[in-house]
């Protein structure tokens, strides 16, 4: 049972790192970014390729860096020019980017499933209450906690973090105080994309790499974001852990219904609290 719960936290951790990027981007740009799944998948493939040549850690850094740059480009070329358009337009464009990225990856890397080995030092197994558990999975949980802690510290106590929080709720008033919200938006999209790269690469030793891996996890990330309350970082954290557990228990106990369970949870939470977990019922 302990092992099952830990596995739930591993998936929850991955979901959190991915979903918090969506929350950041939605907060500043008001964009429902379907391309995020594509960024996750691209991050996994870039991480995989560089890691095969130069080792896991170089692959991780490379993937995060490339995705951050891609985030800035996407903000410049897509989000900013479209910010005054109907949100549905931007959403469709990001969906298009997802499809393009999937085909691009299929063309470059092929359709076959690929797997990446965990880095040396984290490839062992430890015994937990009589069962074996991969060390790498514990490291993923630790990393998710680290990302959550780091992000929350950055948002709570840095000047830029304050500007990000303010611009997420009222971009015009924030800009009126002298904040360049355009540049701030680009920074935040870069961070969101970098986090997608991070979670893609750390997912590479856990999940089989395939061009469609992004679309699968994207659905669960959206469930996390909506359940957590769209703009809430704490809400996303709690929701990710919850969905991670449910997903995993579902896979073990009711495999046929596993993919439906997170959606059912989302519906129940929204009936109970229409604005998500983080907001008080009005």
């Amino acid at each position: 049972m302990l092992i099952q719960i830990l596995n739930g936290f591993v998936y929850g951790g991955l979901l959190y790192i991915l979903a918090v990027g969506l929350v950041l981007i939605f907060g500043l740009r008001r964009v429902v970014n379907f391309a995020h799944g594509g960024l996750f998948m691209l991050g996994a493939y870039i991480g995989y390729t560089i890691a095969s040549i130069a080792g896991f850690w170089v692959g991780l850094v490379a993937s995060v860096t490339v995705l951050a740059v891609l985030g800035v480009v996407m903000d410049r070329v897509v989000f900013r020019p479209l910010q005054d358009e109907d949100p549905i337009v931007t959403m469709l464009v990001t969906f298009g980017i997802l499809l393009v990225l999937e085909d691009l990856v299929r063309t470059i890397w092929g359709k076959d499933f690929l797997t990446l080995k965990p880095p040396a030092g984290l490839d062992g197994i430890i015994m937990l209450s009589g069962s074996s558990f991969p060390v790498y999975r514990l490291a993923v949980i630790a990393l998710a906690v680290l990302v959550a802690g780091g992000l929350s510290l950055w948002l709570r106590s840095s000047r830029v973090g304050l500007h990000v929080r303010a611009a997420s709720v009222d971009p015009v008033t924030t800009a009126m105080q002298g904040v360049d919200t355009e540049r701030l938006g680009a920074t935040v999209v870069a961070i969101g994309a970098a986090l997608a790269g991070l979670s893609g690469t750390i997912a590479a030793p856990l999940l089989a790499l395939s061009p469609s891996m992004g679309s699968f996890i994207l659905i669960d990330s959206f469930v996390v974001v909506v359940t957590g309350g769209l703009t809430s970082f704490t809400g996303a954290f709690v929701a990710a852990l919850l969905i991670g557990q449910l997903h995993n228990l579902g896979v073990v106990f009711v495999p046929a219904a596993a993919s439906v369970i997170p959606l059912v949870l989302m519906v129940l939470v929204l009936l109970w609290r229409p604005d998500g977990l983080a907001k008080k019922r009005s």
Binding site: R159, L162, H163, R165, A166, S168, V169, D170, V172, T173, T174, A175, M176, Q177, G178, V179, D180, T181, E182
Partner: protein, 231 residues
């Protein structure tokens, strides 16, 4: 040198023109009011400065600078801070965080959280509570405090008396006069004459998007008042 100068400004929302050739100027140490009824374009003057309404004719200068493109953040960075209509306290931030947001320009000057708490002691007591849970009068103090955090040369207030009890409006008038004595110029956009006559020395009257009268407040006639604002 003028702190703020509008020269023949034509301002639009989409295709609708709201301001027609508006010119006005506010110099150092001045306390100026813009009067006018609802819907004549008073707030559009502020929105034009902030790049919210689009300026398609004329120019707006802040101090020595005449920016070619007005962005939301331009005015604050050039020393003109706005206390917007409806106060626009940012939800989700505490009172202190709302103040710190005002310091985004990093302009040097005397104002910081401590100085604002000195001016409005009640904000110190409530520094860690969410900004929107303050009363209307306290929110107005917070909005003024936040604007002061930018260390502006000119404070622009858009309908600050809106929704405030008369006794609070009197306090507001005293505060504005004190701020001006301490070196911050004031542009008051108002239709509440009891606030205007306590604060302003000079006025402009706006009607249908055009300046129709201006002069010193002492010379403002009852006829003009009756015609252009409700007393």
């Amino acid at each position: 040198m003028n702190l703020l100068m509008l020269r023949d400004v034509d301002a639009f929302y989409a295709q609708a023109q709201v301001l027609h050739g508006v010119s006005l100027e506010i110099g150092k140490g001045e306390r100026v009011a813009i009067l006018g009824r609802n819907g004549v374009g008073k707030t559009t003057i502020v929105n034009a400065m902030l790049g919210i309404a689009s300026v398609r004719g004329g120019s707006i200068s802040f101090g020595a600078e005449t920016p070619r493109r007005l962005r939301h953040f331009t005015a604050a960075r050039l020393g003109v801070a706005v206390v917007p209509q409806g106060r626009r306290i940012v939800p989700g931030l505490t009172v202190r965080e709302n103040l710190l947001l005002g310091a985004a320009t990093e302009r040097p000057g005397p104002w910081n959280c401590e100085a604002v708490f000195g001016l409005f002691p009640v904000l110190r007591e409530r520094a860690e509570i969410p900004g929107p849970s303050l009363s209307g009068g306290q929110q107005q103090m917070l909005a003024i405090g936040r604007a002061l955090m930018a260390n502006p040369d000119l404070l622009v207030l858009d309908e600050p008396s809106e929704g405030l009890a008369p006794v609070i409006v009197d306090e507001l008038a005293d505060t504005l006069v004190r701020l001006s004595a301490a070196g911050t110029s004031i542009l008051l956009i108002e239709q509440n004459f009891s606030l205007v006559h306590r604060v302003a020395e000079r006025y402009y009257v706006l009607s249908k998007g055009t300046i129709v009268e201006s002069g010193s407040l002492a010379g403002l006639s009852v006829e003009v008042l009756k015609k252009h604002i409700a007393v």
